[in-house]
């Protein structure tokens, strides 16, 4: 029960109900699509990078609560961040959801993203949380490949 509450925290449910930065960036400098065939989650992330800073990013698509909230919180965390900080957050987030719970996580550096710590207790749901990030990475790197979570 407690693990379930940990997974479906109020913040996550809130972002699932009313996703932030939902839509499409006008004058996008990069965009990418992501697909998780396991559950049918589809996401598209568009970004506008100016002078090495992620000035705007938005996402569209349909997915479970975990992937929708992850995308929503990701857009807030990355907005106005320099590219290298965005990539560093990707790494930290990935670590957060894949590292075993015994290992210490620097949750301060993660800020709001730390609410996804509960995901690591649900191995089959890790891909839901990371799909938006993989897609963002592709969008930032300018690849047009469909992001997969494999």
């Amino acid at each position: 029960m407690s693990e379930l509450r940990e997974l479906y925290q109020t913040v996550i449910l809130d972002h699932n109900n009313s996703p932030r930065n939902f839509g499409n960036v006008e004058n996008a400098t990069g965009r990418a699509a992501g697909h998780n065939p396991l559950c049918g989650d589809q996401i598209e992330v568009s970004v506008r990078v100016v002078d090495g800073v992620v000035k705007d990013l938005r996402f569209e698509g349909s997915g479970c609560a975990i992937s929708t909230a992850s995308a929503s919180i990701m857009t807030q965390a990355v907005k106005d961040k320099p590219l290298e900080n965005a990539f560093a957050l990707f790494e930290r987030f990935h670590q957060l959801v894949t590292t075993s719970s015994e290992q210490a996580i620097d949750s301060e550096a993660l800020g709001k993203l730390a609410v996804f710590g509960g995901v690591r207790e649900f191995p089959v749901r890790v891909k839901c949380a990371t799909l938006p990030w993989h897609t963002l990475k592709n969008a930032l790197e300018g690849t047009s490949d469909v992001a997969k979570t494999e």
Partner: protein, 407 residues
């Protein structure tokens, strides 16, 4: 003796297991069914006392193994009420059976501008082999529509049968919707247009008696693992006249009569289609599974499941915001559903915490999801060992799901 699911359930050791500390509520038999002790024991006994490679061995052990293997062929014949045991081809599963027919019968009979007719409710395994064949031959794949309940539009199916149609491939029971197709009627329509019919029976055989002669079809395929046998084994039944005329599928040992560097000749059916050493133990396990369901009686199983399906359909309707996907008048085993504002994947995770196993996703039937405009569904599927208690647990679990999301 009347069928009693509570008693039958005790035949399945898996139900002694706890999941997440709770009794297992297994509602995913449409993906793969659990195994009764009779199957597990038969396979262990076979490996302990009778295992060797089959056919051609001159020693007693090989004779025992061959006897057990070929014995299952006869059991499969009887199970489908097929005319002859040599019409039973052992394959890896329904998918391979369909691929076999596409690669042999299909390649021979389907040419440029010809058509293959399927339905909108097919599993990917009864779509993609035909798609590839059509691409290769310049033929067309035609799709008979389904209505909003998930029932096949039989009239439209009939209209899609044209002189160009060279094969119809239809599921007996839809894995995503539970729709039971009126197979004999469809076969009659197809045959009147001179079109042979393959039936994907994967979702039918665990739930109802099948008589291929009564159905009148040309090919019938099913998988062992869905009918309580081991995975990795399946059956293709085909009319002898078709099988005899078809070229080989895979080639190698067992399927040949003579081999020389100038050329080879093919073995008799069914061996022509059984190249290489098969899953011998798996086939023996399938034999035990067929004995098991036949012993319980498929009509009795069918009656139990119909009653349970009606109970479950009613019970699920009491869950607020729940919408059943697939409400055809004639259904078997499957309850596909969506919950307002809650993604199926989240439903699956929360139910799992209660020890309840359901499947979530597109169920290898993406066109069905598109037809009903949902990205995915949650699916509870019933089998002979399920009871009202399982359904009650599901309904309680779904209330939990709603509770988690109502916070």
């Amino acid at each position: 003796m009347a069928f009693n699911a509570e008693i039958a359930r005790k035949d399945f050791p898996i139900f002694e297991e706890k999941m997440r500390g709770k009794p297992l509520v297994f509602l995913d038999s449409a993906a793969s069914a659990q195994k009764p002790r009779a199957v597990i024991d038969a396979m262990a006994r076979f490996y302990s006392t009778s295992y060797a490679n089959i056919h051609r061995g001159v020693y007693e052990l090989s004779e025992r193994a061959t006897g057990a293997f070929e014995g299952t062929r006869e059991k499969a014949r009887a199970f489908l009420n097929a005319p002859e045991a040599r019409e039973i081809v052992f394959v890896r599963g329904t998918t391979e059976a369909i691929n076999l027919v596409a690669a042999t019968f299909g390649r021979t009979h389907i040419g440029a501008d010809d058509e293959v007719l399927i339905t909108h409710m097919e599993h990917h395994s009864n779509i993609v082999p035909w798609q590839l064949l059509c691409e290769e031959k310049g033929a067309r794949l035609r799709v008979a529509p389904i209505d909003d309940r998930g029932a096949l539009d039989v009239e439209a199916f009939g209209k899609l049968l044209t002189p160009r149609t060279k094969l119809a491939a239809i599921s007996h029971v839809s894995n995503a919707l539970g729709t039971v197709n009126p197979v004999s009627e469809l076969v009659e329509l197809a045959h009147a247009a001179g079109v042979p019919v393959l039936i994907d029976g994967a979702q039918a055989v665990p739930h109802q008696a099948v008589d291929v002669q009564a159905l009148g079809c040309d090919f019938y395929a099913f998988s062992s693992h869905k009918v309580f046998g081991p995975s990795g084994v399946g059956v293709l039944w085909g009319k002898a006249e078709h099988l005899e005329a078809m070229p080989p599928y895979q080639s190698g040992g067992e399927m040949i009569l003579t081999v020389s560097f100038e050329g080879s000749t093919w073995n008799e059916i069914p061996h022509k289609f059984e190249a290489g050493t098969p899953d011998i133990g798996g086939v023996v396990g399938l034999g035990a599974a067929l004995d098991y369901v036949t012993g319980l009686g498929l009509d009795a199983i069918s009656a139990h499941e119909s009653e349970l399906l009606a109970y479950a359909s009613q019970a699920l309707e009491t869950v607020r915001g729940l919408r059943l996907i697939g409400t055809a008048p004639h259904k078997a085993s499957v309850l596909s559903f969506v919950l307002d504002g809650i993604h199926p994947h989240d439903i699956g995770t929360i139910l799992d915490q209660e020890g309840i196993a359901v499947r979530t996703g597109h169920h290898c039937a993406q066109p069905v999801m598109q037809r009903f405009d949902v990205p995915a569904t949650a699916r509870a599927s019933l089998a002979l060992y399920n009871t009202r208690a399982d359904v009650d647990a599901l309904v309680a679990g779904l209330e939990r799901v709603r509770g988690v999301f109502a916070r």
